[in-house]
């Protein structure tokens, strides 16, 4: 399953679908990092609004994506974790420590704008 990656200025926006397999997630991890390098992006927003389940593998992949992108000097924001998905993640003991999160795409963009403003 293809995950659309949209370029908006210096920000890449990846929108996750509901039914991503492990193979899809692995492919996305590689694809996103490649695109960040190629396009010299400063930030990535991963929109998980449509994701039905965030299990241990998906959480780990998101953490890895954020860490890899940080090593490139860019920022990652995860947006759109649904309330029931968040509840399930807490019950499972999954965390996204050290990864920025925001309510939705709009809030994620606002967070990045603020961040870039202060660092420039």
């Amino acid at each position: 399953m293809e995950v659309p990656i949209l370029k908006q200025g210096a920000v890449l926006i990846a929108t996750f679908q509901a039914a991503l397999s492990d193979a899809d997630l692995n492919q996305l991890r590689m694809g996103l990092v490649e695109q960040v390098v190629k396009l010299r992006s400063r930030a990535v927003i991963v929109d998980v609004t449509a994701m039905d389940v965030m299990d241990s593998f998906a959480s780990r992949t998101l953490r890895e994506i954020a860490h890899m992108i940080r090593l490139r000097g860019a920022e990652t924001v995860i947006v759109g974790i649904q309330p029931e998905v968040a509840f399930a993640m807490v019950q499972l003991g999954l965390t996204l420590e050290g990864v920025a999160t925001a309510l939705d795409l709009e809030e994620g963009l606002a967070y990045l704008n603020e961040k870039f403003k202060t660092t420039n």
Binding site: A19, S21, V53, D55, Q82, V85, F87, Q91, L94
Partner: protein, 134 residues
């Protein structure tokens, strides 16, 4: 197989997605809330993942169960894999300290209302979990 039972063969990571979708569908049909259906789907995802990771193949069975004045769903994850030598250790929470996810069984136990595991080294593992409708 009765009408109230769904069995999904787990052979690859694609089947993990299929199993949790079937589980969510059945939970919704049985009248579970969207929140509970997500908890059930997440538990199925973890149990199916253990099968793929440790036993390579197995099955997830989904059943409607009736208790006293209540209805629920049972998820039975079975495989003929290597089994678990130390179940007590596998049920210990390892998240916070090591950062490794282990088998994720303590988490699955928290997601569901009932949890039962039988395993024999070299013969396989059966995990049965249930959730009752509120």
């Amino acid at each position: 197989m009765s009408a109230g039972e769904i069995r999904v063969a787990i052979n690859s990571d694609q089947d993990i997605v299929l199993a949790r979708q079937k589980g969510r569908g059945m939970a919704t049909e049985l009248g579970f809330s969207a929140g509970d259906a997500t908890l059930i789907a997440t538990a199925i995802s973890e149990l199916a993942r253990n099968i793929v990771s440790y036993a390579r193949k197995g099955h997830i069975a989904l059943k409607r169960v009736n208790g006293l004045n209540r209805q629920g769903i049972a998820v039975i994850a079975s495989d003929d894999g290597p089994g678990i030598a130390d179940i007590r250790q596998a049920l210990r929470d390892g998240f916070s300290t090591s950062g490794s996810l282990g088998l994720g069984l303590p988490g699955v136990r928290r997601l569901m209302d009932e949890f039962e595991i039988t395993s024999q080294p070299g013969r396989g593992t059966i995990v049965t979990v249930k959730k009752w409708r509120q």
